[in-house]
Amino acid sequence: MTQGTIDVDPLHLATRGRLPRYATLLIAVGCALVLWVVFALTPAQGRADFLVALVLLFVVAQFLVSYFVEGGRKARDRLAASAAVAGLFAALLPLAAILGFTIVKGLKRLDIEFLTHSMRNVADSDPGGGAYHAIIGTLEQVAIATLFSVPLGLMVSIYLVEYGRDRRFARLVSTFVDVMTGLPSIIAGLFILSLWVLVLNQGFSGFAGALALSVIMLPVVVRTTEEMLRLVPAALREASFALGVRKWRTVVSIVIPTALPGITTGVMLAVARVIGETAPVLLTVFGAASINFNPFSGPQESLPLFVFDQASLPNNTAVDRAWAGALTLIILVLVLTTAARLLTSRSALRGR
């Protein structure tokens, strides 16, 4: 019709081309071919370089092809998608490499001897030796830290959630706890070194390390348990009050058991976090080569400290031990974290 030129399709959506489904694959193959030629002709080489160049080239090529065929909007959409996927690979690759490295290199020395022997009478360059003393040390230090932080932290979070609503004191405590969650762990170690080890003249010991770890652990426990306690529905509490139950009884018999899986999760995550802390124990336990079951007297070893010490030595035997120690550490942390997550998924409170 000669009605005029009302453009019913101003964006030309109907007439713009669309890339066929196989276009992505075609572009990828095309880029690979181009790069293969480039790499053959120029001095550039290496599989890693090839992969990186391929990904970059693919993203750019797909954007350009899509721009000219489908238009700007669709092109930007494809760019975002490919950039996001490329980002995923860019992130997962080094992290998978780290895990893979640790597993492969750690398994070389992770045997029964490593787990049940200490480093007593083993020189740096000697083969053999193990991390038993370090594992015992870490477990004892973390256990003591948990014994200090969890009851105290739980009580504080009960105060914040049950008794402290809208009170200025509670807000003050909450702010301080927030402040302490940001404390760098080395400063916790420095604090215990200055106060406990030197000023109070108690010397280096596993207990000093446990104190430093509890300084870090306490705010984490308060935060996570507070979150869990808040998730308990008010209706449960109010039903309990309506039945004539005292507040303290409500908290102890209703609120805490309901939140218990969540609290356990929080505690396990805090323990997982604190097991891997090197800086606080570096300054407080001094390190030892023999087994020391007594955390209250004498130097002790700690697993992350063991890894740190062995890693800095120039002997291959020491580096092998460092990898095995790192693998042990990762296994401990991952078991705790996975168990915590499994517990959460079965809890009545979390839906996801």
Binding site: A123, D124, A289, S290, P314, N315
Partner: protein, 370 residues
């Protein structure tokens, strides 16, 4: 608490308890060979307890061998030597957190009062020389062996003036070697180190014109890469082509790092060997008084085979005023290390034993510790 729910958890708790008990029982302290040489066993006075010591990393390998021998013979003794550098050892000794310290330089006038205070009023802290060694200059140049470096060249390398291996000064020291044009990467100690102290002491004596940075346990010259502890310096040199660093000889032998012959003040190039260190030390004199056995080196030693960058590590310990619980083990361990048997294992570990006269003096001094 809901009993039923608790009951469901009971087996888990039981497993956890059993696992804990098993874990506590299944560890072992026995590593390596447990048959000490007969002569060593004879001279070891066993005591039990735990000793904590720290300090010089130069003597760390010797300490490791001594501790191994002593602990093998005396299963009730545990000795933890923490390394950390001579500076850290002295500081921790003054603070009272270690029972004795290893240091490659004797207590200075400023350090002595705090060390004496740690031993209690009226008591003194003394320096007991225990092990001698060579500060070796290790380098990483594949294909180049028998490198010779005069003191002046070393001063310029570590001061940052010479930056390439094919510099004319190095060529002049090595007329018959083919040197690559790789860049030189120097490694020095980032912590307070007696090895540093002895090395720059040598440079400032034998390369007066070129080493203008003074003598200090903290590396005084600019540039270069810092590493914490002798192990890290050795690791740095070993992993960098073109690297050069200084550390006690045992680190070079244990890690297969080539060592250079260094020049003394008279233009000769000396190799770091036991005999050469002994030649140098034979001219050292005891300057400590009242039980203290600190030494002074003689850098005007004209012996053509005297290795000029030698070091002696002292054990800094209280002459009297040691904690009574620790005293038997301190005395027992130091008696072993200063005995002929203890000194005898030093040679095979890349160290040099004390000259006989000095060894006798140290032995007697240890016997009088209180």
């Amino acid at each position: 608490m809901n009993i039923a729910r608790f009951g469901r958890k009971a087996p888990l708790i039981g497993v956890a308890l059993a696992a804990t008990l098993a874990l506590a029982a299944c560890g072992s302290n026995s590593n390596g060979t447990s048959t000490p040489a007969a002569s060593a066993a004879a001279s070891i006075a066993c005591a039990s307890g735990t000793l904590t010591a720290s300090g010089s990393t130069a003597q760390a390998n010797a300490m490791s061998a001594w501790i191994k021998a002593y602990q093998t013979a005396c299963s009730g003794a545990t000795i933890n030597y923490g390394g950390g550098g001579s500076g850290a050892g002295v500081t921790q000794f003054q603070q009272g957190t270690v029972d004795f310290a290893g240091s490659d330089f004797a207590l200075s006038a400023t350090q002595q009062p705090a060390a004496d205070a740690r031993c209690g009023s009226g008591n003194r802290a003394i320096n007991l020389p225990m092990v001698a060694g060579a500060v070796a200059v290790g380098y990483n140049l594949p294909g180049v062996t028998g490198l010779q470096l005069s003191a002046a060249t070393l001063a310029k390398i570590f001061g940052g003036q010479i930056t390439k291996w094919d510099d004319p000064a190095i060529k002049a020291d090595n007329p018959s070697a083919t040197l690559p044009s790789t860049g030189i990467q120097t490694y020095h100690r980032s912590d307070g180190s007696g090895t540093t102290y002895n090395f720059v002491n040598y440079l400032s004596h034998d390369a007066k014109a070129d080493w203008t940075y003074g003598v200090n346990k903290n590396w005084p010259a600019p540039g270069g890469q810092g590493a914490k502890g002798s192990s890290a310096v050795a690791q740095g040199v070993k992993s960098t082509v073109g690297g050069i660093g200084y550390f006690e000889l045992s680190y070079a032998t244990q890690n297969s790092i080539s060592t250079a012959k260094i020049g003394n003040g008279m233009g000769a190039f000396i190799e770091p060997t036991t005999a050469n260190v002994v030649s140098f030390l034979s001219k050292a004199t005891v300057v400590g008084t009242n039980g203290d056995l600190a030494l002074a080196f003689d850098f005007t030693n004209t012996d053509p085979s005297a290795y000029p960058a030698a070091l002696v590590t002292y054990e800094i310990v209280c002459k009297s005023g040691n904690k009574s619980a620790q005293l038997p083990l301190i005395k027992g361990f130091l008696t072993y290390t200063s005995s002929l048997a203890g000194q005898g294992i030093l040679d095979s570990n890349g160290y040099v034993k004390l000259p006989a006269a000095l060894q006798q003096q140290v032995s007697s001094a240890v016997a009088t510790l209180a």
